[in-house]
Symmetry: C2
Subunit: 335 residues, 2 copies
């Protein structure tokens, strides 16, 4: 695996290692929900552990099979904040630490985004039944996954990491930032954290989940009835939206090509391009984005989930800053 710096060989291991100590604290909010409380505790714990251990940055093949497990039993202690018994497992701590770095996500920001206030639950009517949370600051999405999906991520993690390295983090693929197993009340749940691609400060007025196919690619009536529906390829053609990317076009296309090539190499074809459109003509009419409106957030992320962002193979794009999200109309394929 590529990487900067050098890992100390054991033969050169110094007697004492300089590591970082955690001794200063900032006030954060803990969640009442036990799973969420353990999640927040575990993220805090594991980020600090990886910071303490991450002197050497060259990843080895074994780092892709690594984990860190911790079991906590508190008797008459800390019951206000946490369940008395729980377990927390982080998968491939150094790999995700490295991915965060390559995706320009500072470890402290990552941690504080997840623990300063509890992530917010979002209704997810999607097919997967996955639970979705968004960090209080909207920067990160936390999604429940199955143990099979954990295995799948392990399978593709090494090429995925290599792709992040070769693209210098400039990939439109989901930015996976951490993967965990929680055991609370003897129930195991698995979670993956990724960057929220629709976290920009401007309102996304329309969203499309595009696969480049017209076969069975229209949003349902139920979906369309929503305030912020995620529309599909045929809807895109019907509404006649046209995306003019402008000066970033070359960069965008080359990113997309590299991503598609990567997915092809893994024989993955189940992916889509999530397009979020910010319409300045609407916003300029006096509409104000309510960044702190939880309900509005939930709608958005519910739809993002529907737009296959949950899938390892999905390919997402947000084009809210496109200088000319021009709209035209065409009814070529409309019924």
């Amino acid at each position: 695996m590529p990487g900067r710096g050098q890992r100390d060989g054991s033969s050169h291991k110094p007697k004492l290692r300089r590591i970082k100590a955690k001794h200063q604290r900032k006030r954060v909010m803990r969640a009442k929900d036990p799973v969420l409380a353990v999640f927040m505790w575990g993220v805090q714990h594991t980020v600090n552990e990886v910071l303490a251990s991450a002197e050497t940055s060259l990843l080895l093949p074994e780092d892709f099979k690594a984990y860190s497990k911790i079991r906590v039993e508190n008797q008459y202690f800390n019951k206000e904040n946490l369940p008395g018994h729980f377990k927390f497992k982080e998968y491939c701590p150094r790999v995700f630490h490295d991915l965060r770095k390559r995706f320009s996500v500072d470890d402290s920001d990552f941690m504080m985004s997840l623990i300063e206030q509890p992530p917010r639950y979002m209704e997810n009517p999607g097919r997967s039944g996955a639970k979705l949370f968004v960090s209080y600051n909207r920067k990160l999405v936390i999604k429940s996954i199955t143990s099979e999906e954990v295995a799948l991520v392990h399978q593709i993690l090494q090429p995925y990491h290599a792709h992040a390295v070769t693209t210098e983090g400039k990939t439109l693929l989901p930015h996976y930032l951490g993967m965990y197993r929680l055991t609370v009340n003897n129930t195991e749940t698995y979670w993956i954290v990724m960057r929220n691609v629709l976290s920009s400060s401007v309102t996304i007025h329309r969203k499309f989940d595009l696969k480049g196919s017209t076969v069975d690619r229209a949003a349902t009536h139920k979906e369309k009835a929503k305030e912020n529906p995620t529309l599909k390829d045929n809807d895109f053609l019907c509404t006649g939206e046209r995306i003019v990317i402008g000066e970033n076009r070359t960069t965008f296309i080359s990113q997309l090509s590299a991503d598609v090539q990567f997915l092809q190499g893994l024989n993955i074809m189940d992916y889509s391009l999530l397009v979020g459109i910010h319409d300045p003509s609407i916003s300029s009419c006096g509409e104000v984005k309510e960044n702190n409106d939880q309900e509005s957030d939930e709608e958005e992320y519910e739809d993002m989930e529907h737009g296959d962002s949950r899938n390892v193979s999905s390919d997402e794009l947000e084009v809210p800053h496109s200088p000319s999200s021009a709209t035209g109309h065409s009814s070529d394929v409309c019924a």
Copy 2:
């Protein structure tokens, strides 16, 4: 148990609790010795945990039976710093947190004293066979104890804490600051941390372990042959040392009386007064205290151990700043 502030009843439990987050780190040294490495890791972990949970300061009876256990299993992770498997248990976290406060030992200082550099091992030729370490800054002593001693500390912890409260921390008894169980390589060890009573910046030239008895109370020839022997009652009488406490006498005697009364109340009689004497006439002759001389430290603590400082019931005093550690000579009881 006395205490300031109020503990939230569960009926008043807020949905979200403000706690403190650890997200800033300072560089520290980790130990190569696995037990020491786990000790340092555990102290860091538990101090942070108690700081995160210590919103409420009123101690309840259950706090004296409390513990916090953590088990860590790292696979291909953090092996440079820690064993792959270990367990760490802190006894009565909130009680010792409260004791540290009452003994004016800041939690962060406590933690950093123990983790910024590894504690130093000291030879302990004492009868107990206990292992002794001193923190790198000489402020704290770490001593191995038996599981029976852990049980004994639990037995006396409630009255001991009450004594610390009523004396406002001004007791000559050992200042117990933390008690832990470590499991490394499937071997359990128990440790207690206390303030180092001989940590002053001036050299202690003579040390006496005084029980107020002359029966079998002379240091052995072997002990006397040492560079810094711990002498006993008959040696004290022989050398004719006289301690003039000066203006602090009233305070000192009342502290001593309160401590003795406390020990009597628990039917404890196996205690002694550890007297360390700094002789300004020696120091003024050009002797320079080498604060960073590890070997010199070890000698001192070896003797402190010999001086029963290991015993729950011991009563220790350091009078290095006594304005007039005058010496007289008397041979009443000398052979």
